[in-house]
Amino acid sequence: MSEDSIPLLKLLQRIPSFFHISEIHLKRLAEGAICRSFSAGQIIFLEGEGSAGLWGLEKGHVKLYKLSPEGQEYILRFVGPGEAFNELAALDNAPNAASAMAVTDVEAWVISGEVFNRALQEDHELSLAVIQGLVGRMRALTVQVEDLALRTVTARLARFLVEQIEDPALAHPAVTRALIANYLATTPESISRSLRALEIAGAISFNRHRIVITDLEVLRQQAQL
């Protein structure tokens, strides 16, 4: 194993579903991986292009998104340090299911689909871990669909704020109304109205550039959690 891939091994060991995978199997996965750097705003890969492989995020934040024909962006997921993404295209070698863009400066590792699939064939524990990871993503997507179909913008916004506080990996260094709107499939104006509603409810307050969660319990009630 090259010295270059040691940081990747440490990264893989941080991915929750990989916790119980033996080091020897993770080392195999780390071999042949390439470290890439991206500046904030740079596209990592595009939806519809040939499989970009499996990515593991070392530093920074990434958004996974889809664009409508009119250019409207919908953010599927934010990725933080220690998380993997683009598992689907790495598994089936089909085109990338979504686009990925660096939200901040990013350092990430990419493992080709070929290496990934070979490692899965050789190690059933790794396969199980990947399945568990995908099940977790599917559960999260189910919640996302439920949110979009059944919850108000204010409830969705409250849930977004709770997630930002409770999951440090997803905590953004900076969010804008437009970014939140693209994640919650609504407009910046709706986000402004919902922020005001949460402020009136006593869940949040504004302190210049800070959105301060003043009452997490009230925020959780607003999120219907």
């Binding site: 953004h172 504004f206 210049r208 800070r210 301060v212 969660i213 009452d215």
Partner: protein, 74 residues
Amino acid sequence: MNDMTIWTPQIDDEVCTGCGDCVDACPTDVLELFTTNVAAVADPEACNYCGICESICPVEAISLPYQIVLGSDI
């Protein structure tokens, strides 16, 4: 936006048309139209984060970045 985000209005140079609406509307004279005919933050310390520039921009070129924090952490 990089990790060292400056907490001031972020203006997308490629989207800004230089109409000057934000410059006229800013109550604390934070913004100016530069010679390149795009709006820019000239006095960041004067910004009180009122958000008027963001809401008045007709082409959505301006965004205010926010940090989400727990009240007990500040």
